[in-house]
Subunit: 138 residues, 3 copies
Amino acid sequence: MADLMSNDMFLAFSKYATIVVLKMMFMAPLTGYFRITRKEDRKKMLQTNPDVERVRRCHQNDLENIISFVVIGLLYAFTGPDLSTALLHFQVFVGSRFIHTVSYLLALPQPSRGLSWVVGIITTFSMAYRVLTTALFL
Amino acid sequence: MADLMSNDMFLAFSKYATIVVLKMMFMAPLTGYFRITRKEDRKKMLQTNPDVERVRRCHQNDLENIISFVVIGLLYAFTGPDLSTALLHFQVFVGSRFIHTVSYLLALPQPSRGLSWVVGIITTFSMAYRVLTTALFL
Amino acid sequence: MADLMSNDMFLAFSKYATIVVLKMMFMAPLTGYFRITRKEDRKKMLQTNPDVERVRRCHQNDLENIISFVVIGLLYAFTGPDLSTALLHFQVFVGSRFIHTVSYLLALPQPSRGLSWVVGIITTFSMAYRVLTTALFL
């Protein structure tokens, strides 16, 4: 079992998957912070604050996209791609999610948010394509 | 590491997990499409459109169920089931999620949606049962 | 492939990951039960019932936290920790999520819910720390 962790590919995936999951986990305390500073809790959800809603939607978008990345990225790591190609996929995805979060939270003008989201999707599709061709035509 | 990808069971799991995750990813642009065609964005979330809400709930239901399948299905693949039994589980689950999505989006009369949801749950339980018996009584 | 399932560490992870995912899956029928008993469905989402909302938020919180645990816990299991240390992490996390769910659903006075949530987060961080140190400084 320790063999897997001496494999460069698996190490690279572990590193980037952990970083991006930690980033996602950071959204929860951030929501709490916004809820307290925007005093949303006082009236028990009768009113929703637009800032709090923005953090929540950003968290939800993370959930949807990071899950896809983690599942497809793990399978992709086992298809034996070049290490440099795999690193490029992992780094572009993780970078795109950080840019997405910053664009969302600071409400930067579009297309910064939309573009970073699309880049993450394309990276995941590219890995899914390799997994499917490996799994279907081996 | 490449050994795993020459394993039929792991290939089968990779194939179906990737297909069902790609299906889930398709819900995000679909939500965007509905939001634009139903003009939900114009008033900044003050009003919600029932069609847009339906796509969102379908996406959320996908998230909840597909995550369970991916986690339990991966562990199940390592318990050494018959390949034909495993394929049956994977295919029934993925089929049930496609039927679920179509039933949800076209608002087909119940129990089409409820039934397809239950079939997916039962498939996941069946795999979880095997994982637990393997993990507990080895 | 069967080798992995004869590994105590992987078995331990499989057991606790499956248990906590099954717990999460249980939230969906529970939401349905609350929706029926609180008659939320009658007016098609025009009104939301606070009890139903509580189950939904608990489910969402499960999704966010259990995904992080499953991803980071799987990678952690491959870093070769002591079996007893790993078991402690897995058990504390799973226990904290059960306490969290009970606190949420019964609306127990704080800090029961907040504390159980924090304990789960700390457990996940502790495993993420080991994954990152292994992946970065090998």
